[in-house]
Structure formats: structure tokens, C-alpha cells
Subunit: 295 residues, 2 copies
């Protein structure tokens, strides 16, 4: 059996099944970040690792500054999805020996720019020789107040489902320049009691079922309401992936307050109600296959 | 200018120069781990990232269980070198789509075995598609009492220099099965006031000058005293690399007590005094070029 036969969800599930976890691990593999701390601590630590690979997540001709920005921003998006604040990053750069130092410097310039903008300290940088493509791994820590830590698994039947921004078409351009939704997530968790949240990395068609499954719910998706990137079809909005927008679930009684307050604070970023969570008996398969890393 | 023209030391130094660091960063890039915490905190956090790459750190035919063991143990060795205790690990596995699931499972079996033995929780596992070789990145956190945190930079003129174990020949076999010196480092920092410590990853000829330079000292190395692996020459002991033994500096007045107590606690692991630190005016180049990842 090859990884491509199983698909990413089942590969990760099989590899991380029944890992022995210490008493201070609140959430292990399976959410956007790991969550560390004792049950009553005021703050918990968030841990995330994420890699971008030449030929998979970016192309050899892409501007290395934008690749560096993307590498850190992907991990930042996961910290945002937990409601957290990022803190410290460690960088692993594996590059071929003939790689130009100017390109490595430009990669780091992009990493530094994202770090500065979002208040991250880059506290370690390892380099290794790659006999193949360029690999750029980011390990990132963050912190979150216990009461504002939002998992994928807290959604409840009837919750309204929202996404920020517009979906689809990211791979044409936006995937190298996206803004991780840290400010939006912090505002949301300060002002509303979200039940579940995640970031959209593999496309709504893949990620919404993940949130619903983690919450032991089914879902209804109103495809006509989808906030599509200009020029994109519904299918593209569902399956292109790399949107790095927030998907979250909120009790419907708070929907009116949220929809009134959001545009006051984020006038340039759409917030769209796209459906709601259903009782688990209503389970149905997702409408389209989403992005799978091994497909 | 290519990475291979500069060499690893200068590449890392150039990329990590003048990184903006938060007030809670005690040590950034340049030591075995990053150190996070406020100056008077009783405990500090340690952060490390480390990668093993097929064709560089292991061969395609190597037993994947041993590769997994090595991947985690390399990072554990860096936690040991700070005097710390490991806590949480995040794994990034980038593998080609045709990679067999049984091999991925075996890699994880090796990771789990090292995690269980050294008290680590694996709290996250990401997989990605690699268009080239297998990459296995480990991000690891740890903790250390402030008073037992040992940097590379604290060595003083006259300090005795010690190494654990035997050096050289690791690449023949030991590099896949080595034991990170966590127990030894914890015992050392509990019982002795070490001035500086690091782990030997690139060979003593590369790593000893790093410790001496960080401590603003020169050094004397008694090559006739080197604890060589059976069958190895002095040159191999100095330059083979991947020993993953501890190198540390201690005030010479404590040498007798250390040499008397060590064999009581670690009867099967040699501890060898190999030289001492000198005033910086005595600076001289290392005797042999050590291992360089881009060479």
C-alpha cells in the first residue's frame, strides 16, 4: 500500500493513532495546532510545524521573498485558527549545494518580514544539504488564553458556519502573499463565543468535513452563498485549496450581532455565512473531492 | 555565491544575523537550542528543530525504524547539550507518493520508541508530498532549570575539556542507533557547575572551535588522549562527525571530583579529558577541516 493509495487524511490518522501523550497535552495531532498546558492553566501553549517544498507548494521561479513569507504565514494561519498569538519560530532550510546565497537571503527576508509584521521572533535557523528540491520547514510556538482556545471539535448542531474572505483561485497568485487572519481571529475570540474554528488550507470541500467530523456533526452547505474569488467557479472555490481563510462555527443566536459588528472592524474583508451544522444522522459525503497532498 | 562556497557556519551566520528577538528570548540562533523565558524565571523553555534527509543523513536501504530513532535522537541530543529535559515533538514527514505505508509506519515506530524511552510526547504529525528524497523534520521542546541551563559560550580560560563516549566511525553504523546523552547531562548539571556544553554533531574538529569561539577562548587539544572508536584514526575521531557525544568545559579544580564520581554512575561510558581552554590570544585554526553540510 502506497501513501498515494491511502490519501493524506488516512496516512496521518494511521501514523498518529494511539500516540502516548503526557498529562500536559490538551490536544495532540489532528487539530490545527497541538495544545500544551494543565487543564486549569490561564494560558496554554500552541505548537505547529509546517513545510513548503519546491515543486509542491511553490515553483522554482517564484520570488524567494514571497516563498519565505508564505512559509511562515502558513504556520501563522494555524495559530490564528486556534485563537492564539504567535511567539517563536525555528526555521529548517534544506537546499542544494549550488543554491545561490542571494536566494537564501531573499527567503529569509520574506520570513523576517512576516515575523516582524506578526510579532514573531525567529530563534533558530538550521541549514542542511538537499539532494533534491528546496525544503523550508517552520516550527512555530504560540500562546492562547485557555478560555479563548478554539478547537475543531466544539461545533454543535445548529451552529452557523462562516468563512472569512473569498475562496478559490489562490494558486494563481494569492497563495504566496496571503495575510494570516490573526487579527480577525483574536477579535472573534475576544467578542464571541466561537464553538469551533480551523483555517482553510486544503479547500472547503476537504476542510469543512474535517471540522464537522471532529465536531461529530453533519453539515449543510449553501453553495450559492459561497464567497468566490472573482472569476472562480463554485467548484474552484470548494477545491482549489490554499485559501488560508478562517472557517468557524457559532451559535445562531449570535449571528446577527456578529454580522453587524464585523464590517465595522474589518470593512475590507467579507464574512459570509455559508451553512450550518446538522445532527450526525444527516451525514453525507462532501460534494467534491478536495485537495490531497498524495493524489 | 553558492551555499557550498560559503560553508554551513557562514551560511547560518549570514541568514540569522541581526534577527529581531523578543524580550523573552534568552538565546536565539547559534547554540544547540533556543532558550525562551524571562531572566529570573525558575525554568526556561528550550526549542530545537532538526532534519534528516535521505541520501544525506541516511541511505534509502537503511531500516526505517532506525531512521526514525535517529531523527528524534538528534534533537534529543541538543536538548541534552543544554542540560534540559525533552517534552513535546512535532514531526514533518515529506515522502514521495509511491512511498510504502509500511515504511512510513516503521519510521514512526522508531520515532515512538525514542519518544517513549526519553519521555517525549509526539503531539503533531504533518505529512507532505516530496518530489525528491524523504525528509523527516523534528521540532522539539524541552525545559531546563535556569540554574542548570548550559550554553556554549560560558567557557573560561583554563577550563578542562571533556568528551563522553568514543569518537569516530559513527557513520559506519552507530549514527542510526546512538543514545542521546540526556541522563549523563542531567547528572552533570545536578552535580557540577559546568561552564559550557554542546553535543558533537559535525566532529570535534568543527565543534570544539565552535565552543571555544562562542566562549571567546582558544583551546589546546591533546590528540593522544582522544577516545577513539576501535579501529579509528585520530583524523577519523576528529572529523567523521555524528558522534552525538557531549563536549563540556569545567573549572579544573572540579576535575578530580568529576573523574572519581563519573565511573560510579556511568561505568560503561568513558569520560575523557581531552584538553583545556586557553586565553583568546592563543587562537589557532582547527587541526583538520570538519564535516560541512554543503561541502
Amino acid at each position: 500500500m502506497k501513501l498515494s493509495d491511502l490519501g493524506e487524511n488516512r496516512v496521518v490518522a494511521a501514523l498518529t493513532r494511539a500516540l502516548a501523550l503526557g498529562a500536559d497535552v490538551r490536544v495532540g495531532a489532528g487539530d490545527d495546532c497541538a495544545v500544551i498546558g494543565r487543564p486549569r492553566d490561564a494560558r496554554w501553549q500552541l505548537l505547529k510545524t509546517d513545510v513548503v517544498i519546491e515543486g509542491v507548494h511553490f515553483l522554482p521561479g517564484d520570488d524567494p521573498r514571497r516563498v519565505g513569507w508564505k512559509a511562515l504565514s502558513r504556520a501563522l494561519s494555524d495559530i490564528a485558527a486556534m485563537g492564539g498569538t504567535p511567539q517563536h519560530a525555528l526555521i529548517t532550510l534544506a537546499a542544494p549545494p549550488h543554491f545561490e546565497m542571494a536566494r537564501a537571503t531573499a527567503l529569509y527576508a520574506g520570513l523576517r518580514r512576516a515575523a516582524r509584521r506578526f510579532g514573531v521572533s525567529i530563534v533558530g535557523g538550521e541549514t542542511a544539504r538537499s539532494p533534491g528540491p528546496l525544503f523550508l520547514n517552520v516550527a512555530l510556538t504560540g500562546t492562547v488564553e485557555r478560555t479563548r482556545c478554539i478547537l475543531r471539535s466544539g461545533g454543535r448542531t445548529g451552529d452557523a458556519l462562516y468563512v472569512t474572505g473569498r475562496l478559490g483561485g489562490s494558486r494563481a497568485d494569492k497563495h504566496l502573499d496571503f495575510i494570516p487572519r490573526l487579527a480577525e481571529a483574536r477579535w472573534l475570540t475576544e467578542n464571541f463565543k466561537l464553538h469551533a474554528m480551523m483555517d482553510l488550507s486544503d479547500g472547503l470541500a476537504t476542510d469543512l468535513p474535517r471540522l464537522a467530523t471532529a465536531s461529530r456533526c453533519a453539515f449543510n452547505l449553501d453553495e450559492s452563498s459561497l464567497p468566490k474569488t472573482k472569476g472562480c467557479t463554485v467548484r474552484q472555490a470548494l477545491t482549489d485549496g490554499e485559501d488560508f481563510e478562517l472557517l468557524f462555527a457559532l451559535a445562531p443566536r449570535h449571528a446577527t450581532a456578529l454580522e453587524a459588528a464585523w464590517p465595522q472592524h474589518f470593512p475590507r474583508l467579507p464574512l459570509t455565512r455559508i451553512g450550518h451544522l446538522l445532527p450526525p444522522s444527516a451525514l453525507r459525503p462532501p460534494p467534491f473531492p478536495g485537495h490531497d497532498h498524495f493524489a
